[in-house]
């Protein structure tokens, strides 16, 4: 008798647990209602303007005047910054932290994406020549003036001489030649590039270093520089030009910044900004902890993903925060097919010749494209928080070719395209190519990335509707990278890139036919001179010309055509771009979210009411 009671009890507990799971599922499938992106952009951000008071060239905020004081608490996921030296940073968090402290000559207009002056008062571009005028009378945080010497030193002795992270230097080498930099007078600097090179202007947003602090370190050589201004440096040793200066760094806990009293931005009452006394970045280990910290009131800002968005939308009604839809992110998700037609050292083809026939067939790639149900993936995998993507430039890119329209899944069109290339179906509905081979191949992605795994399952289902047989194989990230970059023995892969909304030339490693990330037709060292496909040749031409042209309109033409080619040829089939969602406490004022700048692009103007 006793035993029966126990069995019933255990069953009840199991039922209860099951019930709990069911309820959670229902909650998560409810799609959140978000403010459309257009509504945000109507709140036009008033750009800061140059003003001169008593001979000092300030930048004046045009936003409403606010109150001074208070702290803004944000967070970063992971291990925290590795260095506070802006020239040594190799990861996002370190760059983010050093960009708070060091301003560049120019910056990006958070609304239009234009290049606008920041530390510089103005600049003029004339072909290969860039003349930058500096502000008179503005100071480093230790009171020394910011002059042309600092700019020339930063560019000549740090960046061009290859100190620290050399990615900027690597990207401005044109035919083995570097730009030159020259001081004209105390407040004027001239840069000359070897050839007209449009991306150079944005490179001027690199931070400028105080010569009197960095020069001794540079003199001690590159090895010493690697450890200069590391996370162990006492905060008082930092001399900065940005709105906030390092106050405290506690490993694995937080980074605290305090306001720079010498900052050169003033408000409409001519008082020096920033309004906030402190910015704190808590270093948290994972997303779950970040969400808990926001709910516990320890954070003022958080980026949201997936199911949390719906929950926060619900909490927003009686909470003290607002959920902002910032618009599509720079991240992209895509399918690539291996178009490699070469042999490896052992004389064996990287890709099975019968599969080569499929992947190198434009009709086949387009058929795959039309068979994919992007809307379904956006709704079911990204919880509705993504936009279907059809172009190689992301949706917030200022170079986006808007003539390239999206379309729905069209399985009939896919079948027509396949028939055109001689594919047919057997009695069981399996797809057969014109040589009588069954269409069967492997689809890879990196295991552990649940989003890509889910996309893989749906792509497999979508393509099976065409009678293809797909073996979906999520494998460990490092093994996958090895396949994509070294052994090249893969058929189809689902991957993602982070693009740049401002500069398509950042994607040259992907699109140039000898690029290091030319993923759909990767050329190893020995294959660099192998024949190119016609569209690859055209892309090479467009990418080179796009970088050499300097006017936006001229560049746009080249980049429009490149997007059109990718759109037609489908070397990469883009799936979607996630939407960025940010929650921010309502007490903060002067908030102008933009798709390019996010929520806190004007951190010096933000105040607490």
């Amino acid at each position: 008798m006793k035993r029966v009671i126990y069995v019933i009890l255990v069953l009840l507990i199991i039922l209860g647990l099951g019930k709990a799971c069911i309820r959670a599922d229902v909650d998560e499938t409810q799609k959140p209602v978000l403010r459309p992106k257009s509504e945000i952009q109507e709140e036009n951000y008033p750009l800061e303007k140059n003003v001169t008071i008593n001979g000092i060239d300030y930048l004046q905020s045009q936003a409403p005047v606010g109150k001074f004081g208070g702290t803004f608490v944000s967070s970063t996921i992971g291990e925290g910054p590795k260095t506070f030296n802006p020239f040594n940073s190799k990861d996002n968090i370190s760059s983010q932290m050093s960009e708070i402290m060091y301003d560049g000559l120019v910056t990006t207009d958070p609304v239009t994406g234009d290049t606008i002056p920041k530390l510089a008062k103005s600049f003029t571009v004339n072909g290969k020549e860039y003349i930058v005028k500096l502000r008179h009378g503005i100071k480093w945080s230790d009171g020394r003036p910011i002059t042309a010497d600092d700019v020339v030193f930063t560019w000549q002795n740090i960046i061009l001489d290859g100190f620290g992270n050399t990615s900027i230097r690597d990207s401005i080498v044109i035919d083995g030649k570097l730009p030159t930099v020259e001081k004209i007078d105390n407040y004027t600097v001239k840069f000359v590039t070897p050839e007209p090179f449009a991306p150079f202007l944005r490179m001027l947003s690199s931070p400028i270093a105080p010569k009197h602090v960095f020069e001794p370190a540079v003199k001690k050589g590159k090895a010493y520089f690697e450890g200069f201004l590391s996370t162990n440096t006492p905060p008082k040793d930092f001399v900065i030009s940005g709105a906030f200066k390092l106050k405290e760094y506690v490993p694995a806990q937080r980074v605290v910044f305090e306001r720079n009293p010498n900052y050169y931005v003033i408000n409409k009452d001519d008082k020096k900004l920033p309004y906030l006394d402190k910015i704190v970045y808590l270093i948290v280990g994972d997303i779950n902890n970040q969400v808990l910290k926001f709910e516990g009131g320890e954070l003022d800002e958080i980026s949201l993903q997936g199911a949390n968005v719906a929950r926060f939308k619900e909490m927003e009604k009686h909470g003290d925060f607002t959920v902002y839809n910032i618009g599509p992110d720079t991240g992209t998700m895509y399918i690539a097919m291996n178009m490699n037609n070469r042999k490896n050292e052992k004389g064996k083809y990287y890709v099975d010749p019968k599969k080569q026939v499929w992947f190198q067939d434009k009709n086949f790639r387009q058929a795959v494209d039309y068979a994919i149900d992007r809307k379904n993936m956006v709704f079911n995998i990204a919880n509705g928080l993504a936009e279907p993507l059809f172009t190689s430039e992301t949706l917030n890119s200022i170079f986006l070719n808007e003539n390239l329209k999206g379309y729905d899944r069209d399985i009939e069109k896919s079948k027509k395209l396949l028939k055109k290339s001689g594919f047919r179906w057997d009695k069981a509905g399996h797809l057969i190519d014109k040589f009588g081979n069954h269409v069967e191949f492997d689809l890879y992605t990196n295991a552990g990335n649940t989003e890509r795994e889910a996309i893989g399952v749906m792509v497999k289902q979508d393509l099976e509707d065409l009678g293809m047989k797909i073996n979906f194989k999520p494998i460990e990230f490092n093994s996958l990278v090895n396949k994509l970059m070294a052994t090249l023995d893969w058929d189809m892969v689902i991957m993602g890139f982070t693009g740049s909304p401002l500069e398509p030339n950042g994607g040259k490693n992907v699109w140039l036919s000898d690029g290091t990330l030319h993923i759909f037709n990767q050329r190893l060292e020995k294959d660099l001179n192998s024949p190119r496909y016609d569209f690859e040749k055209r892309l090479d031409y467009l990418y080179t010309q796009g970088a050499l042209a300097t006017k936006f309109e001229d560049r746009k033409k080249y980049y429009d055509e490149y997007q059109k080619i990718v759109y037609d040829e489908k070397p990469l089939i883009y799936i979607y771009s996630p939407i960025r969602i940010v929650a921010l406490r309502n007490k903060f004022q002067n908030i102008y979210p933009t798709s390019l700048g996010g929520v806190t692009h004007n951190i010096e103007e933000i105040y607490i009411k």
Binding site: T166, S167, G227, A252, L282, N289
Partner: protein, 325 residues
Amino acid sequence: MQILIYILKRIFQTIPLLIIVSLISFFIIRLSPVDPLAELRLNPSVSKETLQKETERLGLDKPIIVQYGKWAKSFVKGDLGVTSNGEQVSTKLKERIPNTLLLTVVVIFLSWSVGVPLGVLAAIYWKTPFDRVLTVLTSIGMAIPSFFFAVLLLIFAVKTGWFPVGGLTSSNFLEMSFSQKFLDITHHLVLPVTVLFTLSLAGLQRQMRGNLLDVLDSDYVKFARAKGLSEFKVIFKHALRNAVNPLITLLGFEFAGLLSGAALTEYVFQYPGLGRLILEAVLKSDINLVMASLMMGAVMLILGNLIADILLIITDPRIREGSQA
């Protein structure tokens, strides 16, 4: 003198042990398919030159055995090398060791000063309601998985707002007075300590109770009682000394766990200790950091056992005589 020779012998024995441990760990980490540069390789803005430089800097272009030789050479010299980000491993460890020690020492102190007396009491009042209630409570304590318990407490902190959500210090810690700082750290420590304390208290109490019960049942205790000694003298002079031996061995293991025992709890509470550092290092295959922590763990374990053995020699004449024979 005898003890000194014994210690020296033990220390010499550890050398081959450490070599084997380091060899196995090094090869397992390096042979696993984790490429520390995979992330960089898939970044469109990273140039070939940068990749080449990174490969050389991390020594990935050399055969594993050469890499091990390089590591071992500098380890023997006392240089732990640099992390994959170019920071000194020793400074990284130094940042975190005090935090982890703070947590584990507080927990060990609390659980021993509460657990041992409770175990003794439970043995003395064997089969009384007091003992039964303790048994139920400690069973619950042992049954709760620490990870789950930590998450529950964290949610409790969020919902009530009584405790901070993880971390060790508040963001305005720098401006506090000394007593405020002390209170702030205590406030942050309450939840992680509760988790670890519950777990180790339960085990310790059961162990102590069981040992003492065994001893209380032995002939010499019966004899002492028959002799008419007071119950206090019987238990504290005769029984307890014999019951404490297994606990000393346990103390050795606790010592080994000082630096590595709380990794899971540390992770959930975002505690800035060694556990979190090492977990992140393992995920990134940051070989120098992982090796340093593994070697540290091995050394601590060996040391802990050594200390326990020495303590046993001091407390237990039987072992002392055994080693002389």
